[in-house]
Amino acid sequence: MDSITLLEATTGQGIAALGAGVAALGAGVGIGRIGGSALESIARQPEAAGDIRANMILTAALVEGAAFFAMVVGLLVVLN
């Protein structure tokens, strides 16, 4: 396995990988916040757990969509 040299890291592929990482970071923070808030809300109002869970999944899926945009762009850069 070759180590990634500085030259490689500054090419499009390296930057694409970096971009994918940053996107994953953003999505991770977003989904973490959604999950945290959802748990808090369920703890406060357990009878609404079903509705909160459905909305949590929906919002998480929307955040994930943004991350996947970045992933697809990254993949396109790597493959071309």
């Binding site: 509705d51 459905a54 999944i57 899926a61 994930e64 969509g65 996947f68 945009f69 493959l79």
Partner: protein
């Protein structure tokens, strides 16, 4: 007793996960053949072809396996040939994809009725004979070729439709046979899902007009669910990256888009072109965004399903390629065997995640489709703003009152 049965099932499940790991054991050698094969057509022009390095390339292997292909690769050199249907400018061509590779898995030129064909990077191209066993890809003629072949993904599509028909017709028949009785067998599996789509997806998001959209929502839900689950089965007829092929989510999202447009009312378009109660200065910015949003929503719907399922396949393949990366193409077998244990454990974990994702993506696609339909058929409820509008709907028409 019961825990024994569960253990046995778990063992069976894990052993099915081992199958791909075993079949992949032939992969590096295979790759070498393929790499040679891809250049075989150009060999004539380049003089000495086939000088491809045997170094294992994970990226290439992964992209190769998530792509569609002519013929279904099972293991080693065993491939199930699939029919090729081409529409050229001179007429249709039918032949087996087995004609495009020789017994050593190398691509070869097939002389059809109208042209000669060869595989180049998974695509069928027209080639012209230069004489002396040398061929050149005819790009000009290849442009006019329309490929209607029954590829790996098309076979998967047929299998999904077949399963869908078998399951749904047998369940529907069961309801006719014993109406008003407790569900039995497959009914007990399908009924909660249908009720889930109706009560948790369609009714809260669409409102009282939900019944019109139920056939589409249920079809798309079960189609995506079965296709996703089939993609997790490592052996034929599963394992194809079907919902992870951009064409499939594209068609599904387009259908959602068209249904939204057909059912959209004046209220929907007014909210897009001139959001009520918004100053003109803001409208200048808001309206282009809203118009863009009309097209962006189905686009994101497509990307989400495509990327989620592709990512699942890529992760599994990346774990497998760890084995070959560590084994260094047979130089250090001990490292390869050692890593394979970790790989199998990781893959089992990821497969459980993927089971969740398979269901979740079917749910999210259906839910978002329902929400788009809901926004299209939503009616004016007076002068109150959006938040109230949205909250009021399920209470008004739905059976479950949230504030009860």
């Amino acid at each position: 007793m019961r825990s024994n049965a569960i253990f046995a099932r778990l063992a069976l499940f894990i052993s099915t996960l081992l199958i791909p790991a075993l079949t992949f054991a032939y992969e590096p050698e295979e790759k070498e053949h393929k790499a040679n094969a891809d250049t075989a057509v150009h060999r004539g022009e380049m003089g000495n072809g086939g000088e491809e390095s045997a170094k294992f390339n994970p990226g290439e292997m992964i992209m190769d396996h998530i792509a569609d292909e002519h013929g279904w690769h099972l293991w080693g050199h065993t491939t199930v040939p699939l029919p090729v249907i081409l529409k050229t400018d001179k007429g249709f061509e039918f032949f087996s994809s087995g004609n495009l590779v020789d017994e050593h898995h190398n691509p070869q030129v097939y002389q059809g009725t109208h042209y000669a064909y060869a595989l180049e990077h998974g695509h069928i191209k027209i080639v012209t004979d230069l004489g002396g066993g040398q061929f050149e890809v005819n790009e000009e003629a290849s442009k006019h070729v329309l490929d209607f072949s029954i590829t790996k993904n098309v076979v998967t599509l047929f299998v999904v439709v077949l399963i869908l028909c078998l399951v749904m017709f047998s369940v529907a028949k069961a309801y006719k046979r014993n109406p008003g009785q407790a569900p039995r067998g497959l009914q007990s599996f399908i009924e909660p899902l249908v009720i889930f789509v109706r009560d948790d997806v369609a009714r809260p998001s669409i409102g009282h007009k939900y019944e019109k959209f139920m056939p589409y929502l249920l079809t798309v839900f079960f189609f995506i669910l079965i296709a996703n689950l089939l993609g997790l089965v490592p052996i034929m007829p599963g394992g194809a990256n079907f919902t992870g092929n951009i064409a499939v989510p594209l068609v599904l999202a387009t259908i959602t888009f068209v249904i939204t447009l057909i059912n959209s009312n004046g209220h929907y378009w007014r909210h897009i072109f001139a959001m009520p109660g918004v100053p003109v200065g803001v409208l200048v910015i808001l309206t282009p965004i809203e118009i863009l949003g009309v097209f962006l929503r189905p686009f994101v719907l497509m990307i989400r399903l495509f990327a989620n399922i592709s990512a699942g396949h890529i992760i599994a393949l990346a774990f497998y390629s760890l084995i070959f990366t560590f084994a260094k193409g047979g130089e250090s077998p001990v490292a390869g065997y050692g890593v394979s244990i970790v790989t199998v454990l990781f893959t089992v974990f990821m497969m459980f995640m993927e089971l969740l994702v398979a269901f979740l993506q079917a749910y999210v696609f259906t839910l978002l489709s329902a929400i788009y339909f809901g926004s299209a058929v939503e009616e004016h409820h007076g002068d109150h703003d959006h938040a109230e509008d949205f909250d009021g709907k399920p209470n008004q028409h739905g059976p479950a009152t949230i504030n009860a």
